[in-house]
């Protein structure tokens, strides 16, 4: 198990390294920050642009820029934003908690909803509660998240006036962004829990547990759930990546002061340091979560732990 974790950690370092390389390279294909900085003002000479590039260090060859970015990371320094010169680490420190809070709220909400619903559907396989849960999850899957977000704003903020339409002020402002994310996560997770549970429930050790006289609740939540959890945990690890992607859009709609908004603005402004910094930190989190998933396998399944 220790060797397995060590192997995964080495892989993780490599993955983060590869992500930084791709991001730094790709963003430099997207356009010239100097032009954006000049804001399309009347009479810009090529010399002005050249001066700006010089000031930002963009005239150096790509590998030099990339190496200095890497060196910075090792010192915890992501450079300064092209827009206003704020240190990127400060920007990230402000935005990251908002995003993580939103991501984990949605994830936890979806787990709390999808596990009992999925189990209930599996136990009532083919009967109406199962059909209803499956139809609802299909409906949930069919909503594009931005559309759902706008509909929620229309209903709860504009028509009913119950919730703030945007920003992050107090717990009530969490409700709509988290709900938007959670609906889609729950819709997929319910199906996964159901399928995985059906597979487990057909195993002989479940019949053995029943033949011992255990209560249904003990059979389902002790004997079956832990065996069903492996595919679920794997999927949640993978889902985290998609979740971060989805959050960029949801943050945009709700004007949420998180990493998504930060990255989105950085792309529009060709703000290389900010974009490199946000993507690297997000990649680090995704990799970290997947590492935790690998460790979780061992905790859930002794066959992996004792290998």
């Amino acid at each position: 198990m220790a060797g397995f974790i060590l192997k995964r950690m080495l892989q993780a370092v490599f993955v983060v390294f590869a992500v930084t390389l791709i991001v730094s390279f790709a963003i430099r294909l997207s356009g010239d920050p100097a032009v954006i900085l000049m804001g399309g003002g009347g009479n810009i000479t090529e010399q002005d642009l050249q001066n700006i590039r010089q000031a930002l260090g963009l005239e150096r060859p790509f590998y030099v820029q990339y190496l200095s970015f890497l060196k910075g990371i090792l010192r915890g320094d992501f450079g300064k934003s092209f827009m206003g010169g704020t240190p990127v680490s400060l920007l990230i420190a402000n935005a990251l908690p908002a995003t993580l809070l939103l991501a984990f709220t949605s994830l936890i909400a979806s787990i709390i909803l999808s596990v009992p619903l999925g189990i209930y559907a599996a136990v009532h396989r083919g009967r109406w509660p199962d059909q209803l849960i499956r139809i609802l999850s299909l409906v949930g899957l069919s909503f594009p998240n931005f559309w759902l977000a706008i509909m929620l704003v229309l209903l709860f903020s504009i028509v009913l006036g119950l919730l703030p339409p945007s920003g992050m002020e107090g717990p009530e402002s969490f409700v709509m962004p988290a709900l938007t994310m959670a609906v889609i996560l729950t819709a997929t997770n319910v199906r996964l829990v159901r399928t995985s549970m059906l597979e487990t429930l057909s195993q002989q050790y479940i019949m053995v547990a029943r033949s011992k006289g255990l209560r249904d609740r003990v059979v389902l939540y002790k004997h079956a759930l832990r065996n069903s959890a492996i595919p679920l945990v794997t999927y949640i690890g993978l889902q985290f990546g998609g979740l971060i992607g989805g959050i960029v859009i949801v943050e945009r709609v709700f004007n949420w002061p998180g990493m998504g908004t930060l990255a989105f603005d950085a792309i529009s402004n060709r703000d290389y340091p900010v974009l490199q910094g946000t993507i690297t930190v997000l990649a680090l989190f995704i990799v970290l979560i997947n590492l935790l998933v690998d460790i979780a396998y061992g905790l859930i399944d002794p066959r992996i732990r004792t290998e």
Binding site: Y205, M207, A209, K212, G213, L214, N227, P302
Partner: protein
């Protein structure tokens, strides 16, 4: 319902006119029809029947576990009377009452020990669970009691076992844990559903002994569900025979074997392979099989000596064949352990001959089959087919060899592609090897093959799910014959079949051998089938052959202690016979060894012409 509870006052369990139904796509299916029987305290009732006879459903229905498999008890009673108390009808009992009885008064052991235990909880946890639930013990008391139970089922090192997980135990050990778990609360009734079917014979003998001893010690009544008449003869006091969901006969065990009344029981008994049935006869023999035709049993086939082997020149020569697999690697990918599946095994097979390769799990018998079929690369040794060395063959020659050596697998359900017609599956080897180019001629060939294995030409257009297990195995045989092979490797090909089907397939294989001069490598663990089909026998233990010789010599004059143990472990389908005195102990050792620790290769000596036996001192050294 004329029966009142008082009338069977001494019975522990009375099943009265029980019917169970399952909902299917085409309406309800009656799995159990109007079945009644009694179980007396402390006695063993065997329920026998083939797959689909309803015996397993009956066993689940007693504790109403059918509720969880979509089954519905449509009528009848299951009257349970623990310790002379008032009878409880389990069919009408509340869920709470049922939970009190399950695992406490009535316990159950299932067929598959590999999947009966929950993989994520320790052995100790799973045994304690029942004790905490039903006996109100606390965790520590339950653990102590669990340890005692493990000792009772003769598991060594019970203390350490409590903290181990199921995957760290062998199948035989898991089944003993399952028995310990079932007996935890001293149940009045134990239901055992094919508890030894998935186990090796020597392990089966141990498990049957444990069940019998504990039953005597604790006075538990047992319902023993099985398809194996040998196990019935050894275990049962009374027998219920089930057929197509109905009870067709019930009698004390001696009467069932001595004077079966119902035609189905007679057919069943006639099909059971009996160890020792060919004593004194040098050649294997086809004998008629009783097959049910509607409600009557009709004999199929005749008696025929299988004098087909031609001992002038071998078709296959295997010399010092060694196959090892790497397992267990260090962090840097260095191999730490190897499975020594096959170690320097040598044997020949002659045209028209059946060589049986017998042994238990881990003996390496299947690896030999796979190596010959080129599914596994050998580590060393030579294999000659028709005098040509397989190792020196070109790619094209090796492909041609695949056409001459064919394989029939164990599971006829898994070895046919469900998305192709059986005609296509049978024609595939012909197409792959480019044997018949013309599609009309190919179709004729497929029809001919179907006819040879006892099926209809029009079956070619159907799909595998439309056939029964026995018919599918016939299709697999037709496919194996399609490329006109000289050697057919049959790996446990009849083990999963019901006995009457098994007897017919064995006859079919023998008939085809005579007609086409086929050679068979018959890989199996079933000694009774071996006696019927084979000309010569090789007994394998831990990757090496310990005894090799003519069938008669092996069965009537076994020399090696392992061969004797194997023969003694086979349950004999004759309740009059004295039970084997040999106590079989111990697990089969593992063929996995650390790198650098090579097993000793034992020498063989010839005890009579053609009968070779490993020198025991060498074997013991090898196993240590």
């Amino acid at each position: 319902m004329s029966d009142t509870p008082n009338r069977q006052s001494e019975a522990l369990l009375s099943v009265r006119s029980l019917s169970v139904e399952f909902g299917t796509g085409n309406g309800p299916f009656k799995a159990v029809k109007d079945v009644s029987f009694d179980v007396q305290p402390g006695k063993t009732l065997a329920v026998v029947g083939e797959s689909g006879s309803g015996k397993s459903v009956t066993s689940l229905a007693i504790m109403r576990l059918t509720d969880y498999t979509g089954g519905r008890i449509t009528s009848g009673q299951v009257l349970f009377r623990p310790d002379g108390a008032e009878a409880i009808d389990l069919v009408r009992a509340s869920d709470t009452k049922l939970r009190e009885i399950r695992g406490n008064d009535i316990a159950m052991i299932f067929q598959e020990p590999m999947t009966s235990l929950n993989p994520v909880f320790t052995i100790g946890n799973q045994i304690s669970e029942t004790l905490i639930l039903h006996q109100g013990l606390n965790g520590r008391e339950a653990r102590l009691r669990a340890r005692d139970l493990l000792q009772k089922v003769r598991l060594p090192d019970a203390d350490r076992l409590l903290d181990r997980y199921p995957h760290q135990l062998s199948g035989g050990m898991r089944q003993r844990v399952m028995i310990a778990m079932a007996l935890a609360c001293n149940p009045r009734l134990l239901i055992a559903d094919e508890p030894t079917t998935a186990l090796d014979v020597t392990i089966q003998a141990q498990i049957l002994n444990i069940i019998r001893d504990l039953q005597q010690e604790m006075g538990t009544a047992v319902i023993f569900i099985t398809h194996d008449m040998g196990v019935v003869a050894e275990m049962a006091d009374d027998v219920v025979v089930m057929w197509k969901g109905e009870k067709v006969e019930q009698a004390p065990v001696r009467d069932i074997f001595a004077a079966p009344q119902h035609p189905y029981t007679r057919a069943l008994l006639s099909a059971v392979p009996r160890l020792g049935s060919l004593t004194g006869q040098p050649l294997p023999k086809r004998t008629p099989v009783m097959v049910m035709d509607g409600d009557v049993a009709k004999p199929v086939g005749g008696t025929h000596e299988q004098n087909t082997a031609d001992y002038t020149k071998p078709v296959l020569q295997v010399e010092k064949l060694t196959t090892r697999f790497d397992v267990g690697k260090t962090f840097f990918g260095r191999v730490t352990h190897r499975v020594h599946a096959v170690e320097e095994v040598s044997f020949d097979i002659y045209p028209g001959e059946t060589l049986a390769l017998v042994g238990e799990s881990g003996s390496g018998k299947s690896t030999i089959g796979r190596t010959l079929q080129q599914l596994v690369e050998p580590t060393g040794g030579t294999v000659r087919f028709d005098g040509r060395d397989m190792g020196a063959m070109s790619q094209a020659e090796r492909r041609r060899l695949r056409q001459e050596i064919q394989y029939i697998f164990q599971d006829p359900f898994a070895s046919l592609d469900p998305r192709h017609t059986v005609g296509y599956s049978i024609a595939e080897p012909i197409i792959v090897h480019g044997l018949i180019k013309d599609s009309k001629a190919r179709e004729r060939r497929v029809h001919e093959l179907l006819d040879q294995v006892g099926l209809q030409p029009q079956h070619a257009k159907r799909y595998p799910h439309e056939f029964s297990g026995g018919q599918r195995q016939r299709i697999c045989i037709a496919r194996a014959l399609a490329s006109d092979p000289k050697l057919v490797i049959a790996d446990e090909s009849v083990s999963a079949l019901d006995v009457s089907i098994q007897a017919q397939i064995v006859n079919l294989l023998m008939e085809l051998q005579e007609r086409r001069r086929l050679s068979y490598l018959f890989i199996t663990h079933d000694m009774a089938v071996v006696e019927k089909i084979s000309h010569r026998v090789a007994v394998m233990y831990l990757g090496q052959i310990v005894e090799l010789g003519p069938r008669q010599a092996i069965f009537e004059n076994p020399q090696h202690s392992y061969t004797r143990k194997l023969l003694a472990a086979v349950p004999i389908a004759d309740p009059q016979r004295e039970r084997a005195k040999v106590r079989i102990e111990g697990e089969i050792p593992s063929p996995v060894r650390p790198v650098g620790q090579e097993p000793a290769i034992h020498r063989m000596r010839e005890v009579e012409p053609g009968h070779w036996v490993a020198i025991e001192a060498d074997t013991l050294r090898g196993a240590a």
